[in-house]
Amino acid sequence: MPIDRQTVVHVADLARIALTDEEVERFTGQLSVVLDAVARLGEVDTSTIAPTASVLPLQDVQREDEPRPGLTTDQALANAPRGGRDGEFFRVQEVLEER
């Protein structure tokens, strides 16, 4: 199933990625080819098959819930982007509007 321009724009939006017009054009063609190739999976009969999320023979792995030291505030904030730190906080644009 070929993917069209609008779908690429919509999905890129869901993925929070700004694309240039040139990228939309190029990716639409390239992703159509890839999706055509993966669509061949439809040929495989899986009507009675359960999906595999992990090949590991492990389930519900637990560990002791013991307190241990984590990162300090400074360590956690050390990689904040330029303009992205305000004292002991990450700084982001406001998302809630005043009423």
Partner: protein, 484 residues
């Protein structure tokens, strides 16, 4: 000393005979790495390496040092290193300095190994040629117009060009084995669950494993012994006891059943690759192995399964790069636009393609048709391997259908690029261990032989690889001897 010894085992002997020191090996590695012509390195940690070497020498002098003590190694720059920049070869992580090290790095630190620097890769390990690095492609030392393979191209070349004695890579669909094949070194992906992924930049979490590049099979086993084992920080590591992975190296292959999947000798395989692999199978047969045909009829579909599950998991993992807590931030008029611009400017083309592909496969209306369907075929692929390993002890195949191709040749054809991994990614889908070792040259370029074994049967895989290596000279071939 200007050259490094040919293997970890040789270096360890020289260190114990006091014929060299860790500092001397480290200076040799650094001087070779600084003279590198292949864009192998994203960062050289001279001071860090020298400090580690001095500590290693003290430990060696005390006489109770592990085999990797004092050995210089290279770290793929997708593996976090405390206090040392880790970029995943992406603009979005440029300048990121991890506040902690990956468990694999801590384990090698504990052995006393000396980390020389961070190697180039395809951005976020997405690629098979190393052309997707935000910091330029890595070149193949056998022919600088050609790719070294990917995504762990820098780590493969650091070993191939004798700049270090081993390197770590990560393998999600072939990213250790395929560059090992194209660059003429050994590269090994462990069974899923053997090695901790804690502190490694996550790509596709149900497929990713860390593993070594070395010149010899024994060296690969030595590094694996240091890496393997449960980590409380990674719930997907198996609680298995420490294992001597070298116990069967000298046993030979007499009486072992070697499976050859008929579906792996496909159209599009280069004749020189097929010949080298068939010669290798004859060598194993000559040593007394029984060659048996096995069927992996879903090999073709493996590529489709992989190119749904892998981008789907990646699109989820890479959601964390939002410009808020670390990395690049490209500010827009509001937070949503900041996310979009940050990711639009921070990610390269291949990463964006996979984010879109993965988001699409997980989106409403397509989830069952793509993602769940792929997971069901994954079940069938695993079952086919189970059936094959009921008939054989190891499976031997080519690592990649071609030798190293020209830089630029496949960059605009994602599907052609993805086909490079057609023989390696089934091992990731089924979680199996696999090693690629050199098995000769085709038109002067290295060919890789892949040996896969059942889950957690690395010792058998190493046994077959070592038997082949003992009888052939291919692991001794070096690019320089040919190029000069």
């Amino acid at each position: 000393m200007t050259a490094l010894p040919p293997s970890i085992v040789d270096a360890a002997k020289l260190l114990r005979a006091r014929k060299t020191s860790s500092l001397e090996l480290t200076e040799a590695a650094l001087s070779r790495a600084h003279a590198d012509r292949f864009n192998t390195w994203l960062l050289l940690a001279d001071d860090h390496a020298r400090a580690q070497a001095k500590v290693a020498d003290e430990r060696l002098n005390r006489g109770d040092a592990p085999l990797l003590c004092g050995i210089p190694w290279a770290c793929k720059d997708i593996i976090g290193t405390k206090g040392i920049e880790t970029t995943a070869a992406s603009r979005i992580l440029k300048g990121y300095v991890p506040p902690y090290s990956a468990t694999v790095v801590e384990r090698l630190d504990a052995e006393g190994a000396v980390m020389v620097g961070k190697t180039n890769l395809d951005e976020f390990a997405m690629g098979s040629s190393n052309e997707n690095s935000a910091f330029g492609p890595v070149k193949n030392p056998w022919c600088v117009e050609r790719v070294p393979g990917g995504s762990s191209g820098g780590s493969a070349v650091a070993v191939a060009a004798d700049e270090v004695l081993f390197a770590l890579g990560t393998d999600t669909g072939g990213s250790i084995r395929q560059p090992a094949a194209l660059s003429g070194v050994a590269g090994m992906k462990p069974t899923y669950g053997r090695v901790s992924r804690y502190g490694v930049v996550a790509f596709a979490s149900s497929l990713d494993q860390v593993g070594p590049f070395t010149h010899t099979v024994e060296d690969a086993a030595i590094v694996c012994e240091a890496l393997f084992g449960k980590d409380p920080h990674d719930a997907t590591t198996m609680p298995l006891a420490r294992e001597d992975l070298r116990r069967d190296l000298a046993k030979g292959v007499k009486g072992l059943r070697i499976g050859v999947p008929k579906e792996f000798f496909i159209e599009g395989m280069e004749p020189g690759v097929e010949k080298a692999v068939r010669d290798a199978l004859r060598e194993l047969e000559r040593q007394g192995a029984n060659i048996v045909e096995v069927s992996l009829s879903l090999t073709d579909h493996g590529l489709a399964v992989y190119y749904i599950i892998q981008p789907a998991e990646a699109s989820s993992n890479l959601a964390r790069y939002d410009g808020v807590r670390y990395g690049l931030r490209a500010e827009g008029p509001d937070l949503l636009e900041t996310y979009r611009r940050t990711r639009g400017q921070g990610f390269g083309a291949e990463v964006k393609r996979r984010m879109i592909l993965g988001t699409y496969a997980l989106s409403a209306g397509y989830y069952d048709a793509y993602y769940v369907k792929a997971q069901k075929v994954r079940t069938l692929i695993k079952a086919e391997f189970d059936a094959a390993f009921a008939k054989c002890d190891a499976i031997v195949t080519p690592t990649s259908p071609t030798v190293a191709f020209k830089i630029g040749q496949k960059v605009n054809d994602p599907l052609a690029m993805y086909l490079n991994d057609v023989f390696t990614l089934p091992g990731n889908i089924a979680g199996l261990p696999g090693i690629s070792i050199p098995c000769g040259l085709s038109d002067g370029l290295p060919v890789g032989l892949q040996i896969m074994a059942n889950s957690f049967a690395e010792a058998t895989m190493f046994r077959v690889a070592a038997a082949y290596e003992r009888a052939t000279p291919h692991h001794q071939a070096r690019p320089e001897r040919k190029a000069a």
